[in-house]
């Protein structure tokens, strides 16, 4: 299993998870609608009976936007307030959902019951992981941009042109992006580990994921990078298709709306795809690694797989008694699985 297999396999697996995809999309849609409704009331009131609003149908109109905003300057406060509520709420929901997403993918059981079981079972541990990584991201951001802030003035006074300043600042953003992707990777594998082991030992999980990510750095990092960059060309194509659409007629508006929502659906798809690919990669590598290191203790949790794996490709998290025999069976199954993957790669 390399990153490209994980990437394509993740895409396929996500496609099977339609119920969950639609649920996630619906949550995004409903939440956004709820948030936008009071904002729209303000906008509607602000325009009153004015015809100016129709000018906006034909595209960007700076004068109208400027006059509207200067007459309705409380709009910014309002939007900020909405965002301050909706972003943490959506984030919390997504932490909850991530347990469900991984669980359905792991079980190959794409029902909402499996989804919610997984979501509930993993919520607290995933919340702890997510908060830990947010703190880590903030700390790294402070460190990276702190250094930038402390050195930029000196760099400014010696730089020969704005080109070197650009690259200097860019290198900090790039460094932070790399660190951020790296942290996100660890966070993803930590979730996989915790879910697969039904473990609450966050620190151990983070440590093992860190080792795992470093050990398979090229695959884990570039898989994350590939997944993060995938929306860009899609957005470009979407923008090219839609940017001349005026939406001035009912039909035009409906087409535009549908295209907008298709893109949002793609973003949701991408979210699940990201988990699916990571899990895909992890299941193979992790199991292999587990066997090689013969880590008996953590192995315990995997034994159930020996019975599962003949029907399902992956393993379940339910622990059962450890026996040498079962290990052998499991090992044999895994070998088959790995060979199968290698064959398909050829």
């Amino acid at each position: 299993m390399n990153l490209f297999n994980a990437y394509s396999q993740g895409f396929k697996e996500t496609g099977k998870n339609l119920r969950v995809l639609f649920l996630l999309f619906a949550v995004n849609f409903v939440l956004a609608i709820l948030a936008i409704k009071p904002l729209m009331n303000l906008i509607t009131k602000g325009f009153g009976n004015s015809l100016a609003v129709t000018e906006l149908l034909h595209g960007f109109n700076y004068t109208i936007i400027n006059d509207f905003l200067s007459q309705n300057n409380h709009l910014f406060t309002f939007i900020t307030a909405i965002l301050l509520v909706i972003i943490p709420l959506y984030w919390l929901l997504s932490v909850f959902f991530s347990g469900g997403i991984l669980h359905t993918l792991n079980r190959n059981s794409y029902t909402l019951t499996t989804f919610f079981n997984g979501a509930v079972a993993n919520f607290l541990r995933f919340l702890a992981v997510s908060l830990t990584f947010i703190i880590l991201q903030v700390l790294f951001a402070l460190a990276v941009f702190g250094i930038l802030g402390a050195t930029i003035e000196n760099f400014f006074s010696t730089a020969s042109s704005e080109i070197s300043i650009f690259w200097y600042v860019f290198s900090f953003f790039l460094s932070f992006s790399i660190i951020s992707l790296f942290l996100q990777s660890i966070s993803d594998y930590t979730k996989c580990y915790l879910m697969l082991n039904a473990s609450n030992n966050i620190l151990k999980a983070i440590w093992r994921s860190l080792v795992f990510v470093i050990k398979h750095f090229l695959n884990t990092f570039f898989l994350k990078l590939l997944l993060s960059l995938t929306p860009l060309p899609v957005f470009y194509i979407w923008y090219k298709i839609t940017h001349d659409m005026e939406g001035a007629t009912w039909l035009g508006l409906i087409v535009l709306f549908v295209l907008q929502q298709i893109f949002v659906f793609f973003r949701v798809y991408m979210h699940v795809w990201s988990y699916a690919s990571v899990l895909e990669f992890y299941s193979h590598r992790f199991l292999l690694a587990e066997f090689n290191s013969i880590d008996k203790k953590s192995f315990t949790n995997w034994n159930n797989a020996a019975t599962d794996i003949s029907e399902e490709k992956k393993v379940s998290a339910a622990p059962i008694q450890e026996t040498q025999k079962e290990e052998d069976v499991y090992m044999q199954k895994m070998d088959e699985e790995i060979n199968k993957t290698n064959e398909s790669k050829v």
Partner: protein, 660 residues
């Protein structure tokens, strides 16, 4: 100053006057009255950032008054310390910990008449605007005799300048030098009748945070000596260039009929040249801005063409554009008639027209601060405001009405739209009036009231009188007042004259009232359509007398509507505005609403209802600060709101998805 320096000084001083320069001229006939003519020989010490110079000023008293005193600008002293009026007004933090190198000064070491009478003891610094005892930006000298009308006086200066780290568009950074406000420059003597002068007096203001120019026309012969690896550009035409054995080069520039002289030097400059008709355009650019060279030329030529068409051909045969390095950005966006600094950055996208904007703007000053040379201290709008109006006209003409400034990633902003928004979105629109001393604007007001609002006021005037008449006004103003320092009053008189000539006996637009509201007054303009009503005309009901008898009538409602459109004025400014009224039958009526009432109803009756009304449908009156309330429709198109809803929803959905 140390003794060896004096020796050196004297040697170049005498050497300078010993040389018999070959007289070369740019214009066969002077364009201006050439009241103050300078010959300056200056050495730039690039190591200690010092200028040492000798200057010969020939000043002609062109008034009918006898002068016994002369007044001068010594603007480099604005950067002498943090107590100067400029520093106090601009709230600058002062030194970054290295005052010796951050601040600069102008020190006059010798001042004498041609007959070598020493005038230095009579030199007195004074502060006519604010009595600041620490400000040394203006000085006066007593003449030993009388300077009679039409007589001239020759003054010889020896001075040194310590350059500041670039501030207010002058100084040095590393090996980049932009040398402006650097020599003792004589003030303007205004005889009775000139501008607002009731009796003759000097008009010589201190250097302020927000204004630079009011000077005499004249000629400049400037000899600049500096290490030969430096590339030099100036507001003059390069007449000669000589290298000596010590590795120094002397550049001789001559400029005629300009009001000030600035120059620049840097080792990093690359030179590009372009000929446009009779004008040789030279661009001194940074190597990393090679891709932007053509954009500078295109914008300059666009401006040259536009001004040629609308005012007059640019008369000077030379024009220098300076593209400062990023570390010298403090000198960007500055004008000196035949030299200006632009400002660009590496890889600037074509859809961002900042380079074009600053180029067109600074070039345009040649016509206002340069050739008209109004008093920027007292009437800044005559320069910055008129120039901003032209800047927006040119950018929006060449780069698109709604894309003149920005056209990138679906965001489109016209240059005029942008200027207007600066004023229209101001919370307190009435905090000042346009006509005010530049240093008297409330904090942050200078930009709005001397650039943006004037551009809107002039554009609105154009909307009212029409483009043809507007350009006739501007052309007449320019032709009549070029090289003569006009005032606001002079412009208004010409506007009134041209409008009168074009009125064909029709009831005319009161231009004086227009300017008293918009330039001398601080009120804002905001008309709104606040209501539309359509009622069916009731049938006759009750007792009616017909042919002497009372008879009862009980008619049903007619199929005729009684309608009105309610117009309200929320601002103080009263102007005639057009109102486009649309009816249910498709009929349209364009009315001109000209009333000083705060609330007014336009009434209609007929078989069709009024469906919408729009004030200023063709956006001729951009002075109206709120276009949203300019229209009213009884059936607001829901599609627009739904589109806004869908778009907001889409971006919010994407935005929240980003955080997970």
């Amino acid at each position: 100053m140390k003794p060896p320096a004096i020796k050196f000084f004297l040697s170049i001083f005498f050497a300078f006057f010993a040389i018999n320069f070959q007289a070369q001229y740019i214009f066969n006939l002077p364009l201006s009255n050439r009241q103050a003519n300078y010959i300056i020989r200056v050495n730039l010490n690039t190591e200690n950032k010092m200028l040492t110079a000798v200057q010969k000023l020939t000043y002609i008293n062109q008034s009918a008054d006898t002068l016994t005193e002369l007044q001068f600008h010594a603007y480099m002293n604005a950067f002498m310390n943090n107590q100067s009026t400029f520093m106090k007004e601009s709230n600058r933090p002062g030194s970054s910990g290295n005052p010796e190198w951050d601040f600069g000064f102008l020190k006059i070491n010798k001042l004498s008449l041609a007959d070598s009478a020493n005038l230095l003891p009579s030199l007195t610094y004074f502060s006519p605007d604010d009595n600041n005892p620490d400000d040394r930006t203006v000085f006066k000298i007593k003449l030993p005799g009388k300077l009679m009308p039409k007589d001239s006086v020759i003054l010889n200066f020896e001075f040194e300048v310590k350059l500041p780290k670039i501030i207010a568009r002058t100084g040095y950074v590393r090996d980049y030098f932009f040398i402006a406000q650097w020599f003792p420059k004589i003030g303007v003597y205004e005889p009775a009748g000139m501008r607002y002068a009731k009796r003759g007096a000097w008009n010589c203001h201190q250097f302020h945070a927000n204004s630079e120019f009011y000077s005499n026309f004249g000629t400049y012969d400037v000899y600049i000596t500096l290490p030969q690896e430096y590339v030099v550009g100036s507001g003059g035409k390069l007449m000669d260039k000589k290298e000596d054995a010590k590795g120094l080069t002397t550049w001789y520039f001559r400029a005629e009929d300009i009001v000030d002289f600035a120059w620049t030097a840097s080792k990093r400059f690359k030179v590009a040249e372009k000929q446009w008709n009779h004008v040789k355009i030279q661009l001194l650019y940074q190597p990393e801005h090679k891709d932007l060279v053509q954009r500078h030329f295109d914008a300059t030529i666009a401006a040259l063409e536009y001004f040629e068409e609308t005012l007059e051909t640019f008369p000077y045969p030379h024009l220098t554009i300076v593209d400062p390095p990023f570390y010298g950005m403090g000198s960007s966006g500055m004008e000196y008639t035949t030299l200006f600094t632009a400002g660009s950055f590496w890889n600037e996208p074509e859809g961002l027209r900042f380079t074009e904007m600053v180029t067109v703007h600074e070039f345009g000053h040649a016509y206002f601060m340069g050739m008209l040379a109004s008093n920027e201290f007292e009437e800044a709008w005559l320069d910055e405001g008129f120039n901003s109006y032209f800047e927006t006209k040119i950018l929006d003409h060449y780069y698109g009405k709604n894309t003149g400034l920005i056209d990138i990633a679906g965001i489109q902003i016209g240059d005029f739209e942008f200027s207007r928004s600066g004023y229209a979105s101001l919370k307190n629109k009435g905090m000042a009036e346009i006509y005010r001393n530049a240093w008297d604007y409330p904090y942050g007001g200078y930009g709005v009231y001397s650039y943006q609002k004037p551009a809107v006021v002039l554009q609105t005037l154009e909307g009212i009188v029409g483009e043809k008449v507007m350009y006739q006004i501007l052309k007449t103003y320019f032709k009549r007042w070029k090289f003569k320092h006009p005032s606001t009053r002079n412009f208004i008189e010409i506007a009134a004259e041209v409008i009168e000539a074009n009125s064909n006996g029709n009831p005319k637009f009161d231009i004086n009232q227009y300017f008293s509201q918009t330039v001398y007054g601080s009120g804002h303009m905001d008309y709104a359509v606040t209501d539309i009503s359509n009622q069916l005309k009731p049938g006759a009901q009750g007792w009616f007398e017909t042919t002497g008898n009372l008879a009862v009538k009980n008619e049903k409602s007619t199929d005729q509507y009684e309608s009105y459109v309610q117009i309200e004025r929320f601002g103080e400014v009263i102007l005639p505005v057009e109102v486009l009224v649309k009816f249910s039958s498709g009929r349209e009526v364009l009315e001109t609403f000209d009333s000083d009432q705060k609330r007014f109803r336009l009434k209609y009756s007929g078989p069709d209802r009024v469906v919408s009304a729009t004030i200023d449908p063709n956006f001729k009156i951009p002075l109206d600060t709120n276009v949203i309330n300019n229209s009213y429709s009884i059936t607001v198109k829901q599609a627009a709101k739904r589109k806004i809803f869908a778009t907001f929803l889409f971006w919010l959905q994407n935005f929240i998805q980003f955080f997970i």
